[in-house]
């Protein structure tokens, strides 16, 4: 079962939740898809790491063969090619690796070359299998890494996979939740938090994904706009996490709270049970 954990902004507690749920589940897979700034590995400190690079295909031109017909330039809808001063120029960062230009070139002057955009690390933290996607600094898109990550982790099924999503609701998040069986949205108790919750709420609704919300940083006796939002929209609330100083301290030391204190292992066990119950219920009701 694939459970994706997402939020409309960074810092709501996606990694806190994904890491602790995976740690509590024990025999689980944690997949860090926040490839621009993966940090789950800081908590898990995985051992026996295997690394593989991720490359995309970009066109390379043979100037001897190119006649300057510009079929490729006109074809590229991303305008990654230009023909200047009798030479074809390739803008690698703009290229979306569709391969169309190489197929269309009548002179076979274009071929595809690998360009490395990042890497994937695979290791173990106790019985938790940890995958981290790492995008090279300066690269425009992490999607090729996420595709490879999710493809690699297919072999882990039907085990429990906790997918730590990038923040927001853009293409990269859509790619990450594509194969998710259930989505957990993490929300903060502020007006800004509601705005961001609404972004991912609309996304998972659009993708017709079953989902529930975890309310993080809850203050006792204080109004929680995100909770109000869930009640109004009749959204399942999977659990509450308090705005807890000790939890913050443990987290800031890059320790896994559920492995450090009994009360947190109890807290995340309850939460995991709640998530699994909902996810399995959905799997039966809406397979």
């Amino acid at each position: 079962m694939n459970i994706a954990i997402l939020s409309g902004k960074g810092g709501t507690g996606k990694t806190l939740l994904a890491v602790n749920l995976a740690a509590i589940a024990g025999d689980a897979v944690y997949i860090d898809c926040d490839v621009e700034e993966p940090n789950g590995h800081l908590f898990f400190k995985p051992k026996s790491i295997k690394t593989e690079t991720v490359a995309v295909k970009i066109p390379a031109v043979d100037d001897e063969l190119c006649t300057g017909c510009r079929i490729c330039v006109d074809f590229c809808r991303f305008n990654a090619l230009a023909y200047i001063a009798d030479r074809l120029a390739v803008f690698e960062q703009i290229c979306h690796s569709c391969g169309g230009c190489t197929l269309l070139c009548p002179e076979a002057a274009l071929r595809e070359e690998d360009r490395i955009v990042g890497r994937i690390e695979e290791g173990f933290s106790g019985s938790v299998k940890v995958y981290s996607g790492i995008l090279n600094t300066g690269e425009a898109s992490g999607i090729p890494i996420i595709k490879r990550l999710l493809n690699l982790s297919k072999k882990e099924r039907p085990g429990l996979c906790l997918i730590d999503c990038p923040p927001g609701s853009a293409c990269i998040v859509m790619e990450t939740i594509r194969d998710a069986d259930y989505c957990v949205l993490v929300a903060e108790p502020t007006l800004f938090g509601v705005h961001n919750l609404n972004l991912v709420y609309e996304l998972v609704s659009l993708f017709d994904k079953p989902f529930g919300v975890v309310l993080n940083k809850c203050l006792e006796g204080e109004e929680n706009p995100s909770e109000k939002f869930c009640l109004e929209k009749v959204i399942t609330i999977l659990g509450h996490l308090a705005f807890d100083h000790e939890l913050g301290v443990i987290n800031s030391k890059a320790l896994v709270a559920a492995r450090e204190r009994k009360r947190y292992s109890a807290l995340f066990s309850t939460l995991l049970a709640s998530v699994l119950k909902e996810a399995q219920h959905e799997a039966v009701v809406n397979p």
């Binding site: 120029a89 703009i94 990038p166």
Partner: protein, 122 residues
Amino acid sequence: MKVAVPVDDKNMETSVCMSFGRAPYFMIYDTDTKEHSFLDNSAADSPGGAGIKAAQTIVDHHVDVLLTPRCGENAAGVIKAAGIDLYKTEPQSAIDNINALVIGKLSSLNDIHPGFHSRKGR
């Protein structure tokens, strides 16, 4: 000397467009013959790489100088590779900028920005 300027309208009073890649039109002005024409910028509504495509249009029209308020690095790469000089416009009409260029009152554009490409991560 053939000069190109990204512009908002197709008339001689037009202002300079703040964007190069996504300007609706380009004014092409020949300072020797005083002839002018307007080009539609086919890159204006591109999903991406508008600067590159717009620059390709400028290169294909054998322009000597491009006047623009700003220019992204990809577009600048194309423009410079074609040997076209880049000058920075002043806040005045397109034709006033061209006249300012002729009398040497414009300075070359050096602050090339890294682009406003939509970030995909967020």
